[in-house]
Amino acid sequence: MIPVSYNLRNLTVRKTTTAAVALGLGLVVFVFASVLMLSNGIKKTMGRSASPDVAVVLRKGATAELESVIEEPSINLVLNDKELPLPATGPRGIAELVVVILLDKVGAPGLSNATVRGVADGSLAFRPNIKIIAGRAAQSGSDEVTVGKAIRGRFKGLDLDQTFELKKNRPVKVVGIFEDAGSSYESEVWADLNLVRASFRREGVVSVIRARVEPSKFDGYKASIESNRQLNMQVLKEAEYYDKQSEGTSTFIAAMGIMIAVFFSVGAMLGAMITMHAAVANRQREIGTLRALGFSKASILFSFLIESIMLALLGGVLGAGASLAMGMVNFSMVNFASWSEISFRFEPTPGIIAGGIIFATVMGLFGGLFPAIRASRVSPIDAMRS
């Protein structure tokens, strides 16, 4: 076999073209990996809000909390169903009203949507993972609100001890900031249920009921609620609910990103092909010499493929490395399920990084294939010509 150092040194000899082509390939891998990391980040952010032992009850046909309307009298029926076991600690369930409001963005012109959750007493106790990290919890029945740390300061008035208008002439005061391990709750404003109802003329209704059900009892509870025609409701596992919420957005982003990456990869592969073609042309006599010495066509083909793949791997490592740096960036965008701002992060996984490297290898393979075939066809007689 022709030693790999032969290829490595040839890449170093033409270092400018090697660097340029590797950068091009790296850019493609960067786009590919970053976008998958973002798509994964969206899924993870939404998924983090889910507990394995929580059932989400919505109006039948509603695809999101925001679309769902549940009348007050139904709450008791849902939470006192005979199939719903009594939890070991904490409340049995909670009923909340979700609305979207327009607020002034900080640092950017214009308005954007923010999600407001009207919460009752048990909301914090029901979600033990949520922690107040600044200020304090809001007093129930007051015009105090708490704000998730991801949108803190992103809108005017949305920081500790500031005030903003929930609705015209309905000023509220931010008394606390909470965090929830990066979940989508961190992109919400939590206000008193009755205040939200009054402000938005939604008296007597909620959007969603959450009930504490251990997984083994879930099916029985779901069947019991959904078979009650009068209730006209659907029951989902919380994880399932959030999966559905993020599915559209994350799939859309992943699909867009992969399309863009594939589109650019054609250019990057052409770049690899052109440099490898030039390399073959410049090394015609070297190839002929190797053939004369007895190296087979296959070993020449293999050697040039290796060279192209090494070039691509250099780009792949550059691109994947740069995409890892994106992990430091917080990204805020509209979640298509609720049309409100939600904050995401680029979440790398070993699979995404490996995928980027494999993508690079495939580009190197395809870009290098035709030049390598051409190299393998160089006649050993060419070595004799001067």
Binding site: E286, G294, F295, S296, M384
Partner: protein
């Protein structure tokens, strides 16, 4: 009398140039005894390189039989010819043909990569070959750090490292000045006398041809 190492009978080689076939070798017959040092001369374009390439298994005759080192070259596939060259032929080129990104010793080691020798054995053999050509202390040098004569000596080390049955050299001194050319010719003479190597050398320099035991002249597709 030693048995022949090269036996060519009725060799014809034609090339197609456009629609015109050009007959370069025309029913040529040649026997080279083992252990000889022969020079092949002739006007430019007379087919010296073509003949050398046939003997070295780089190309096939259009007609005739060619047996070299006991192998019937006419019936061999491309892959078999490559194995034949690796096993039996040591090449010396006019333009040295060292790989520029490899050091002297790495260049010399190349043919050994096609054998089953271990890395240390390969290094030792390559070093020995460089010692024979007097360049052991230059083994870490790259071709561009060597003079033309030194490059050709490295190429000779590469040609002998595999202990080939026959060494073919196409104008080995063509690119060298008198002094460097003499060094190369001394080396080839020594390889023939001391190491009993069969050598076939193409040249148009009468001075170089003098060093060979036999000089053959090629003209109009035939050996004179």
């Amino acid at each position: 009398m030693e048995p022949s190492i090269v036996e060519l009978k009725g060799i014809t080689k034609t090339f197609q140039r456009g629609k015109e076939p050009i007959v370069v070798l025309d029913g040529l017959t040649l026997e080279i005894p083992t252990g000889s040092f022969e020079a092949l001369m002739g006007p430019s374009g007379s087919g010296k390189s073509t003949l050398l390439n046939l003997i070295a298994g780089l190309d096939r005759p259009t007609q005739g039989s060619a047996v070299v080192a006991g192998a019937n070259l006419v019936s061999m596939s491309d892959g078999e010819l490559a194995k034949f060259r690796a096993r039996h032929i040591g090449f010396i080129f006019q333009a040295y043909n060292l790989l520029p990104v490899l050091t002297a010793i790495e260049n010399v080691e190349l043919p050994l990569l096609l054998t089953n020798l271990s890395k240390t054995e390969r290094r030792e053999r390559a070093q020995t070959a460089l010692r024979v050509v007097g360049l052991e202390e230059r083994m870490k040098h790259y071709p561009r750090q060597l003079s033309g004569g030194q490059e050709q000596r490295v190429a000779i080390a590469r040609a002998i490292v595999n202990d080939p049955t026959i060494i073919v050299a196409d104008e080995p001194t063509g690119d060298l000045d008198r002094k460097a050319a003499d060094d190369i010719l001394n080396l080839l003479e020594r390889l023939n006398k001391e190491f009993k190597k069969t050598i076939l050398m193409v040249t148009h320099d009468p001075h170089a041809a003098e060093r060979a035991g036999v000089t053959r002249k090629l003209d109009k597709g035939q050996l004179q």
